[in-house]
Homo-oligomer: 211 residues x 2
Amino acid sequence: MKISILLFEKMAAQDAVGPYEVFRCVPGWEVELVGKRAGEVRAEGGLGLVADRALEGVTEADAVLVPGGRGSEAMAADAEVLDWLRRIDGQTRWTISVCTGSEILGAAGLLEGRRATSNWLFLDRLPDYGAEPVGGRWVEDGKTLTAAGVTAGIDMALHLVGREAGPEVAQAVQLGIEYDPDPPFDSGSPEKAPAAVVELVRSASRAASAG
Amino acid sequence: MKISILLFEKMAAQDAVGPYEVFRCVPGWEVELVGKRAGEVRAEGGLGLVADRALEGVTEADAVLVPGGRGSEAMAADAEVLDWLRRIDGQTRWTISVCTGSEILGAAGLLEGRRATSNWLFLDRLPDYGAEPVGGRWVEDGKTLTAAGVTAGIDMALHLVGREAGPEVAQAVQLGIEYDPDPPFDSGSPEKAPAAVVELVRSASRAASAG
């Protein structure tokens, strides 16, 4: 399977690198990093990632994955990116987003009539794109696979490997990346985090959007 | 807190990017990506990451983090890198590894007499460096913080944020990256994975080491 992952300015690096690390471990799978232009892209926080190919040269992929992050808003307003996504979606087996990457798929019209998920802070925007918001780490509806915020990309990617390469391969990849999560706190969702922490994150998000 | 993350050829990208994504979300924390030379580094699988500064220019940091991956063996034999690690360790508050990054810390003599962990496949090498191997997602011994394989870096990083910035900040970061893990399989450790899967991963690792 050949997977194209879109990189862009102010993306969340983990959204792309989590699934990348899962996919690259699957024998025979090929992952390509693509961008509006080939070359360096700066993720949120400044980390430099390298897009090896410009979108215009990418005309086929078995799967396309769109990460999220602060930069997703600009991508969702970028006609070149949205046109490319619609074209490539025309022949993918899977069209995938992580976190607010759903906003970009939505802006391209690719979530119309679909059940989908997103970062918990942005779930309520999905209806703007004709999608039905659903909770959970990932949502599969037809060939559309959307993951919740940031780290949910790892869970979603293991699910996809299970679907395409079988459970034994997915389990081997999970063991290879020693994904036996045991966070020191239990506040990874707004239902589990203390109310004060939820409000802290909501305020920070509002401040960042305004800023 | 100023954290330097070492990038090198054939590192596992997730080992660095997981903790990066956690640390960059902490108000006032600064993360710098460093390499033997400034410029592109190719992680396992080919992903390009950018080292913004060469080691020789990096003379102080509050914390240094060393990722693992196939390339760790070469780093553990690289005098320039080991000298730098010993120098920077002389004034860090925390010296950290993820996965087989422990091999690099060990080769620099920084695990001597410490309790430490590593990727499950490499735990039994820790005594070669005078360290006592310990299971778990991370092990803190004095200022040395070692994480288990690949994804354990996320758990370790949240622990460090809790220690340095307090539990509320750590919980806010966890919610920000929506780290409420729910993998579709339960095979992230050799104790949990089916025996056939453990053997598959062991064989693949042996083949890669021989290759």
